[in-house]
């Protein structure tokens, strides 16, 4: 064999190895994801078999009596997430319009963009810590004025913190889609004598509706799985919340509180089933959001 063909063979080998590595790595990711899903599924089996659909509508979570109804936590999760969304949406749209339309470039834009990005960077546990010492006393004062027990913690407090935490996520996407509205659309409106307000409300918002919706979806997905801040601020009770100031629990915070000590097969399995549920719901919302974005950018 000549020197060149020998080298060519070596290179060929390296090529193959490289390409195989690339493909392998991609396969590994898919396998990891499938493995996550199946681990959750298999470990939830004991609870699925024992409880069936009762899991979702039984309102009693009583480990002593071996009764595991996740309804209170389902309600808690939905309540806090939707309340957080309701609180944060007006603000996130306002900021998105601010950064996407009024102040697209320049120092002001940079400052506010950085501030919102840093909001996303604060760890959840620090949000919870701050919430405990600043928000909770404020809510207590409010509750005493309203003649309610001054818990301080509860659905309301957790929803506020969640709203702050998910703001950056919906803002980043919304801002992008708002700033990408074709200039000729806007200019046509301006040339017809529209004010900026009218351009925003009648042209930009309708045009970016699906993008904004995707942003909200992503924020919702994030809120559903948020654990630490919620655990510290929600009051941790197994009862169904009776009002927005009452304590509650979310699926994520129950797992955090009780997983390391759940004894008994069904107990642990029920907690993992909640994890499975969170996984499935978060995945669906995530994929839905990305589909909406794709359709939006394609159009």
């Amino acid at each position: 064999m000549t020197a060149i063909s020998y080298q060519a063979k070596r290179i060929n080998l390296k090529e193959k190895v490289f390409e195989k590595t690339l493909t392998l790595s991609a396969i590994v990711v898919v396998i990891i994801l499938l493995a996550i899903f199946f681990t959750l599924l298999i470990n939830s089996m004991p609870s699925i078999k024992a409880l069936g659909t009762k899991f979702f509508y039984d309102k009693t979570w009583d480990p002593v009596a071996d009764e595991f109804g996740a309804l209170p936590f389902l309600i808690g999760t939905l309540l806090t997430s939707f309340l957080a969304l309701v609180i944060s949406t007006p603000f996130s749209i306002a900021v998105a319009i601010f950064l996407g339309e009024y102040y697209k470039k320049g120092i002001v834009a940079e400052i506010f963009k950085n501030v919102i990005d840093h909001l996303a960077g604060i760890p959840s546990v620090i949000y919870g810590f701050w919430g405990l010492f600043v928000l909770v006393p404020m809510v207590r004062v409010l509750e005493m004025k309203l003649n309610l027990p001054p818990y301080g913690v509860g659905i309301f407090t957790s929803s506020i913190i969640l709203a702050i935490m998910i703001l950056p996520f919906s803002v980043s996407l919304s801002r992008q889609v708002i700033s990408m509205v074709p200039a000729d659309l806007k200019e046509a409106a301006y040339s017809l004598g529209a004010t900026r307000y009218e351009v925003i409300t009648k042209i930009i918002i309708p045009h970016t509706k699906s993008g904004l919706f995707a942003g909200l979806l992503l924020a919702l997905g994030r809120a559903l799985g948020e654990t630490m801040a919620v655990t510290m601020l929600i009051g941790n009770t197994h009862q169904i919340p009776t009002g927005i100031f009452s304590p509650g629990n979310t699926m994520a915070s129950v797992i955090a509180n009780e997983f390391s000590e759940a004894t008994g097969k069904i107990y642990t399995s029920a907690l993992i089933e909640m994890g499975l549920f969170l996984f499935v719901v978060a995945t669906i919302i995530n994929i839905l959001g990305k589909q909406v974005i794709k359709r939006f950018t394609l159009s």
Binding site: V29, I32, A94, Y102, H118, I126, G128, M228
Partner: protein, 299 residues
């Protein structure tokens, strides 16, 4: 005749007045709207300022030499420090980086190259789903996959959990960066006879290094504050430890434990640790911006 003309002029003036009134009204709405948007944006940024201000105010009093060098003291005794938690955080992160960075970059390379294959589609899907999984669910998974088979808690299991969470960010930034590079770069190299693997490894990746590094640093900033995945993996340790196969303390874990305790001493330590954590994240973000500017990253 003049009367008729006057009448027409009067009608016209009246119509003009109407139109002027309308325009004034619309202008007012326009200004008011802008005011609302600005107000909304400022309110949205308030929480960040409040949180940062509060943490720095409380945390600065806790920071002293003891804070950095002492280990936690038994319950009720003063003078403890967070030395082990700081070391723990850094070590756990280091191992996560070793695990996640190479894998993430390779997957990113694959996705930027093989855009049309089925595997690429599923791989991208898997990465997206992975990004959306709640951190507490990742904690459950790693507990089942690593902690139980290993027979114990360890910093290593915590690192694996964090690595899983870092992966999507690294993959995405690598893919985006490499996609933005001009095709001509790759084609020129291949035309010169450079083998494919060398082209990628020695030409494409180094050119895109800025974007890749940005993604890496951002992913580190994301997981440095994560608590939920460490709850039942790294577990915590009141002693200084550098053994990654044993339980290890970390900053977010002690913030969580101390914040929910009744001891003022511990609260002080938690504030100091929070300030430390936020400073570290801030520094990471600044490094990102510097990298972006220096290497002219575009995504």
């Amino acid at each position: 005749m003049i009367l008729h003309q006057n009448k027409i002029m009067n009608n016209k003036l009246f119509a003009d007045l109407e139109i002027e009134k309308q325009i004034a009204h619309r202008n007012k709405k326009n200004k008011a709207f802008k005011g609302i948007i600005i107000a909304g944006t400022i309110i949205s940024t308030l929480p960040l300022l409040l949180i940062l201000f509060y943490i720095f105010k409380q945390g600065i009093t806790a920071i002293n030499w003891d804070f950095f060098t002492n280990l936690p003291k038994p319950v009720g005794e003063t003078g403890g420090g967070v030395a082990n938690a700081l070391v723990g955080s850094v070590l756990i992160l280091l191992v996560s980086c070793v695990l996640a960075i190479p894998v993430g970059i390779i997957i990113g390379i694959y996705l930027s190259e093989a855009t049309k294959s089925r595997l690429a589609y599923y791989c991208r899907l898997a990465v997206d789903v992975l990004q959306g999984i709640p951190s507490i669910v990742i904690g459950i998974i790693i507990y089942e996959w690593i902690v139980r088979p290993m027979g114990g808690f360890s910093a290593f299991s915590g690192s694996v959990a964090l690595a899983l969470m870092m992966l999507p960010a690294i993959v995405k930034s690598t893919e985006e960066t490499l996609k933005l590079l001009p095709e001509s770069l790759k084609e020129a190299s291949l035309a010169l006879g450079v083998p494919y693997y060398k082209t990628i490894l020695k030409i494409i990746v180094p050119t895109g290094l800025g974007g890749i590094m940005t993604g890496v640093i951002l992913s580190i900033a994301r997981v440095i504050g994560e608590t939920a995945p460490l709850l039942f993996t790294a577990f915590g340790n009141p002693f200084m430890s550098t053994n990654i196969f044993k339980p290890m303390s970390s900053l977010p874990l002690i913030i969580f434990n101390y914040a929910t305790s009744p001891y003022n001493d511990w609260h002080q330590l938690a504030w100091g640790a929070s300030m430390l954590l936020i400073l570290m994240i801030l520094i990471l973000n600044i490094i990102t911006k510097i990298v972006q500017r220096k290497w002219k990253v575009q995504f």
